[in-house]
Subunit: 223 residues, 2 copies
């Protein structure tokens, strides 16, 4: 192979952000089985699929009936968004939040390592303890740690204030599927949206917030 | 259903971070087909699978032979890590970087919107223009935007300095698969690791950096 740089290639890819969004959402609508979801959840489902590149996640989504309205009303009235990791916080499109809502991640709070040692749990779970006075009426987005979701459910069952919505997207092999099953089976009347099984992640948790906050404004060229 | 909170449930989940990592990595090793990858890439592949919950991604991984050594040497000698989005930057475990490497994301640089308009492209692609004086010998991690990866390849083909490694994990339906194909087909001698197809994302791009930087220190209880 020649060491000389070849002529600059022209890949002919789409460069217009609005067109990219339109084409992406059109492909998702054409390929995904959205019919198994209530219409109110179609925008958030499209955004979730868009975030992970997998149309088949619809089959693993579980939700409570009121989730869209509860989450949207909470955000509109200024509820904070509580995130388990910074990646989730940084995936939330701030201009889509209807009330300049605070986005809170306590994982890197200096109190967390000590608290984790004291409670005998992970830093992710300990960080959830620091959500306590934000919890009532909040929107919780968990994109990484099963232990954060388990700990949250335990706190609420023990009397902590209830969030308005819990978006459950822990990912991985140890506890992720189980934590989302526990969320979906919660006997606490907690509105939720979750992706069952091992799949999940920060991008999905953030996409859930974005979709519940604003639907798909990019589709109308309003991004 | 009673409105009273039930007794706090006890989920009996694993709370020891070291045990969670050990069990996770053991499940991945047991289930994933790592044999199709060179041994030098097993740690990074395990970390990638761990980040997305899908053992079958090994079948879609593509790489150049020298990628592990090139990336590791670059990081050890202090190369910056260039990320297309803040989510990637926030997924990089700083204590795993061997030389307190700078992690750079230019997407929110105030110059980007004007540059995107001028170049007639996305903000993600325009942000890559601002990498130019960091590019030589760098480690590039792209976890979101196909246009960023396409633009990078065009810049390098046109004579911009070459990174030591390009980690290609754009996700989605418009351009993602094509941009990663273009990376793998690059005639520029660029070392790369990529996940072909629609799947990808910030967590994977960050996991690739973490795995190439440090392997799996958590497995030895050294996290």
């Amino acid at each position: 192979m020649s060491e000389q740089a070849p002529a600059a290639p022209s890949f002919g890819y789409e460069k217009d952000p609005a067109a990219i969004y339109r084409q992406s959402f059109a492909i998702v609508r054409a390929e995904a089985d959205l019919d198994r979801l209530p219409e109110s959840l179609h925008p958030v489902a499209i955004r979730l699929i868009h975030a992970c590149g997998m149309t088949d996640i619809t089959q693993d989504l579980v939700w409570s009936e009121t989730i869209r309205d509860e989450a949207h009303a909470a955000l509109s009235s200024g509820a904070p968004v509580l995130c388990d990791v910074e990646m989730v916080a940084h995936g939330i499109i701030r201009r889509h939040l209807p009330a300049q809502n605070e986005v809170i991640c306590t994982l890197n709070d200096p109190a967390v390592p000590g608290l984790a040692a004291e409670l005998g749990t992970t830093r992710s779970a300990a960080a959830v303890e620091l959500w306590r006075h934000h919890l009532g009426g909040s929107v919780v987005a968990i994109g990484n740690a099963p232990t954060a979701l388990f700990h949250l459910l335990e706190m609420i069952a023990a009397g902590a204030p209830k969030p308005a919505a819990i978006l459950g997207f822990p990912v991985g092999f140890v506890g992720a599927a189980e934590s989302k099953e526990a969320l979906a089976a919660n006997g606490l009347g907690l509105p939720y949206l979750a992706l069952t099984g091992r799949r999940g992640g920060s991008a999905l948790a953030a996409a859930a917030v974005n979709g519940l906050a604003a639907g798909l404004p990019e589709e109308a060229g309003n991004d």
